[in-house]
């Protein structure tokens, strides 16, 4: 049973995407798809297109920058990376929007948003609540979190990998992010 309601803020930017599944990497925050020359990021919402045996074809939609058409971001502010595609043509763009279709192992998908984001979420609620009260993630924008987490990380003594996981969680669930934490 899905425990959480997913709200896709991308709708307000003109992309109607109802996430069915989330990329779930048990280790690290990247899912490299070497043959397709694509890297997907943990926790990102994807739409199932089709499936065969233990493989599922999914669609990822987002925004691209003018400078780098290989990267797909969750929002127009280009602060939350969804995917990096080095295979020419796989990332189809129209204006500043982009769509990517890739096939991923079934085991790399989950319908449980909390499970998908557990690494960053657990680290944030563990490392960033020891000295001050628990901050409400959606009270701050992605930009705010960059500055706030940047200010405090030296006190939290987090590693680079932990920083990346925490910041991705904060950006995804920020005021202007793409997801909302459960009630």
């Amino acid at each position: 049973m899905r425990l959480f309601i997913t709200v896709v803020i991308a709708c307000i930017f003109g992309i109607g995407l109802q996430a069915e599944l989330y990329i779930y990497t048990k280790k690290g925050i990247r899912l490299p798809l070497e043959k397709q020359k694509v890297t997907l990021y943990n926790g990102i919402p994807v739409k199932k297109i089709s499936s065969q045996d233990d493989r599922v074809t999914v669609q990822v939609t987002g925004f691209v920058s003018k400078k780098d058409k290989n990267k797909l971001f969750a929002t127009r502010n280009l602060k939350l990376l969804l995917a990096v595609a080095t295979n020419p043509g796989i990332l189809k763009t129209k204006g500043d929007t982009g769509v990517l279709e890739v096939t991923v192992p079934k085991k790399s998908l989950t319908d449980d948003m909390e499970e998908a984001w557990a690494t960053g979420s657990d680290l944030f609620y563990d490392k960033c609540t020891k000295c001050h009260h628990t901050r409400i993630v959606e009270h701050h924008s992605m930009q705010d979190w960059n500055a706030l987490f940047g200010s405090m990380k030296y006190k939290a003594k987090t590693t680079e990998a932990q920083n990346e996981a925490i910041l991705r969680f904060l950006r995804a669930f920020a005021k202007d992010g793409i997801l909302k934490e459960s009630e």
């Binding site: 020891k130 009260h133 705010d144 500055a147 200010s151 405090m152 003594k157």
Partner: protein
């Protein structure tokens, strides 16, 4: 870890007194073992000497020239103001209809622990989580990680209720916390500062803009190490020029023979603007720095020149507001741009009406001076705090409890607590959005003193009397405990085992064992144990989640195990010795704040919208507020020496950080006797004002305005400018007549007079330093200050 009684006596006057008072003791008693036990506090690390189960003295660990405050920890432990047993307010216990209005007015009934725990759990179970206010929020009762009250309280409520209402910001730095991230990409107020080793050889002009380095570095959020005292001696000999911009001649200004610019309170932004306008029109500002490292200067300049409001912000304009002569404003501007200048701002300036402007103003001025990111130049907002300027060891300290997720999204901006209690559901502006104030029914305060640190105490008390339940957990009968319905006695830091935060706050070079020194002589319990007992009332699952299935010493070992120290030194060795010290790496002494940004702003951008310093912020401008704009702006404060209100209330009241307290801590000890006048907090006043109002040194006077009245003792001194009085924050509130609402404050707690008015609609932070008052000499007898007396209690 013991020492013989004879050896100890050689160096201890305190012990010598003890021996005289036990002249009839037997030889066995006389020569009984004195234990030397290490521990640590916000006032520094220490060794406690214990004989026959009682603490007889405390001495600092290592070199510490100022251990006075920690010495009073002994007195505090045995104070008559200790909460010895659990208590419940009488009519609350009896469930009487009108019981809320009797808070702070009636006796308490002693109740067994088993009963009181069940009562507290029942009240919490009955109350929805979004109606519970965690009043412990950012209190800093002590630096131990196991019994750290803010974390424990948050962990408890997040575990058993899924959360509680928290505060937004804090009482120290609220305005800066909400503006600096957008302006300079960092909160700055709690961030690592440029190392002393970079300031000492490079800074030519050190501007203490309100900062009182020597006074406020006495204590620490972690464990004070007071190494800054040694650096300050080097500063004095360094040859750098010190300028203090402050209505008060501070301890530090005196120590450094600083030139004192006694500015009118709350007018600092006008002074900054006057300097900036002068630098702009004379083209003396660093235009290259502005182009390369800042964003939005062109939107600020029209305001500076008066093109947007018809008022050029000239030095002459600034002089009328600040009462700093225009010639001096120009002189300062010329001095700053021609010498390596470090502007050390403080926090109290932003605890004022429109306090959001102050740090932004200093950042903008420093940008025009063009030395941001250079060794010994630019701006700093934390050199006065936590050993700011000390190089960082950069190591991992012990772990600590996490609080987990709080599912309650409602928050209360720090200035709005009174209003929340009095007007629940009210919608206010807040950082560009609408915020609905929650309906608080239960307030839980552990190791914090709300009826002290909150502005406008008479208003707060009205609000508190609307709550359904107020629970206070503390070792002492603080003013907040006296207002409570349920009072839970907590142990002191001397009565429990713990492990310290990485100390000091910035050097992070030590981990301390905080060993239990003595058993509590009362029924007090550790904060951790109290919450564990409460969690158990909610179920086994909640108890296990809260405790992780561990006992206190297991937690201490586990926390230590997460530190870098554990890689080389066993827990047993650490616990035996009492501390572990990390070596500071050489490169840490080279640290320059914003140094990387200065070297390469493209590779190392700030975490702002543009990656540069935001002299203009579209985000802020888009809020559309009339009291907070898109660039630094002078706003006339609601109360200041330039306002019409001075006809009625002619003096500006400041409430700076306490010299001999950590906020309210140690007010109930012998150290208070060193500075209190007739049992009340001292008020500094200029001789001209004293003469005008017919008051003399040592007089008891009433200070008053429309919000309240209080009694203080007078200190007539040239150290404060004419028209300004100062009463230090933190003394325990005590009404002259507790039965009378709005009774005159009898201890000198200045928040009886401060306003709950927010800084602005943006951050809604506290504005304690925007207050006008009048004074009058007291005639006749007054009731003694009863702040440190316990209330009337009865046993069932």
């Amino acid at each position: 870890m013991t020492t013989s009684r004879r050896r100890f006596l050689q160096g201890s006057g305190v012990a010598a007194t003890a021996i005289m008072s036990t002249s009839f003791a037997s030889a066995t008693q006389l020569f009984s073992t004195v234990k030397k036990i290490p521990s640590a506090s916000h006032f520094g690390a220490f060794y406690a000497y214990v004989q026959d189960g009682k603490i007889i003295d405390i001495e600092p660990q290592g070199k510490d020239s100022r251990p006075t405050m920690m010495k009073s920890l002994v007195d505090r432990n045995y104070s008559n103001s200790r909460i010895k047993y659990p208590y419940v307010r009488k009519s609350f216990l009896e469930g009487k209809e009108n019981n809320k209005s009797l808070r702070g007015k009636e006796e308490f009934v002693r109740v067994p622990w088993e009963e009181v725990i069940k009562l507290v759990a029942k009240k919490i179970k009955e109350t929805p989580r979004d109606s519970i206010y965690n009043g412990t929020t950012d209190g800093w009762a002590h630096p131990g990680l196991v019994n750290y009250c803010p974390t424990l309280t948050g962990r408890f409520f997040n575990t058993v209720k899924g959360g509680s209402v928290n505060l937004d910001g804090d009482w120290s730095t609220g305005a800066a916390l909400r503006t600096n991230p957008d302006v300079v990409g960092d909160i700055e107020v709690y961030s690592l500062q440029t190392a002393h080793e970079q300031i000492l050889p490079n800074t030519e002009v050190y501007v203490m803009w309100g900062a009182d380095l020597f006074k406020t570095n006495k204590i620490d959020f972690a464990v004070a190490n007071r190494k800054n005292d040694e650096y300050f001696l080097k500063y004095k000999k360094s040859g750098m020029r010190f300028i203090s911009i402050d209505p008060i001649k501070t301890e530090t200004a005196k120590m450094f023979d600083a030139e004192c610019i006694h500015i009118r309170p709350n007018t600092d932004v006008a002074l900054m603007l006057g300097m900036m306008q002068y630098l702009y029109v004379t083209k003396k500002y660093d235009s290259d720095f502005i182009k390369k490292y800042t964003d939005g200067f062109e939107k600020f300049v029209p305001y500076l020149l008066g093109k947007t409001d018809g008022t050029p912000k000239t030095p002459e304009w600034a002089a009328k507001i600040t009462e700093v002569p225009a010639s001096k404003i120009k002189e300062l501007a010329n001095l700053f741009v021609s010498h390596r200048t470090l502007i050390a701002g403080n926090w109290s300036m932003q605890r004022a009406h429109h306090g959001e402007q102050v740090h932004w103003g200093i950042i903008t001025l420093a940008s025009m001076i063009g030395q941001v990111g250079l060794p010994g130049g630019g701006f700093a907002f934390s050199l006065h705090y936590g050993g700011g300027g000390q190089a960082s060891a950069g190591k991992n300290g012990p772990g600590g409890f996490s609080q987990g997720r709080n599912k309650v999204k409602a928050i209360i901006p720090a200035s709005r607590l009174n209003e929340t209690l009095l007007n629940p559901g009210k919608v206010i502006n807040f950082m560009g959005e609408k915020l609905k104030l929650p309906h608080i029914k239960l307030m839980y305060v552990a190791g914090a003193n709300t009826v002290g640190h909150q502005q406008d105490l008479n208003e707060l008390i009205q609000g508190i009397r609307k709550l359904d339940t107020l629970i206070v957990q503390d070792p002492w009968w603080t003013p907040t405990a006296k207002m409570a319905d349920i009072v839970l006695p907590a142990t002191t830091i001397l009565e429990r085992d713990d492990i310290s935060l990485l100390s000091g706050s910035y050097s992070g070079d030590r981990v301390y064992a905080m060993k239990k020194i003595v058993d509590t002589p009362y029924e007090a319990k550790d904060d951790y144990e109290i919450y564990a007992l409460l969690a158990k009332e909610f179920g086994e699952k909640e108890y296990k989640k809260f405790t992780d299935g561990k006992q206190v010493m297991e937690h201490i070992k586990a926390f230590y195990g997460q530190s870098d120290a554990a890689k080389t030194i066993s827990f047993e060795k650490f616990w035996e010795k009492g501390y572990v010290e990390y070596k500071i790496p050489k490169e840490a002494y080279q640290y320059v704040r914003q140094g990387d940004f200065r070297k390469d702003p493209v590779k190392n951008p700030l975490k702002t919208k543009s990656g540069k310093i935001q002299i203009y912020s579209k985000k802020f401008a888009d809020f559309g507020y009339d009291d907070f704009k898109g660039h630094v702006t002078w706003f006339e404060p609601a109360e200041w020496l330039g306002s019409k209100l001075v006809d009625k209330y002619p003096l500006h009241l400041l409430s700076p950080h306490a010299t001999y307290r950590k906020h309210s801590q140690l007010d109930n000890t012998w150290i208070a006797g060193l500075y209190k006048i007739k049992g009340r907090e001292p008020m500094r006043i200029n001789p001209k004002d004293a003469k005008k109002y017919g008051i003399s040194n040592g007089d008891l006077v009433e200070v008053y305005n429309d919000r309240g009245r209080l009694l203080v003792g007078t200190v007539v001194t040239e150290d404060i400018r004419e028209g300004v009085v100062a009463i230090e924050e933190g003394t325990w509130y005590s009404p002259e007549d507790p039965m009378q609402d709005g009774s005159r404050g009898n201890s000198g707690q200045p928040n009886v007079l401060t306003s709950s008015r927010p800084t602005s609609q943006a951050s809604q932070s506290c504005a304690a330093n925007t207050v006008l008052v009048a004074v009058k000499k007291i005639k006749g007898d007054v009731v003694p200050n009863q702040a440190h007396l316990m209330p009337k209690v009865t046993k069932i």
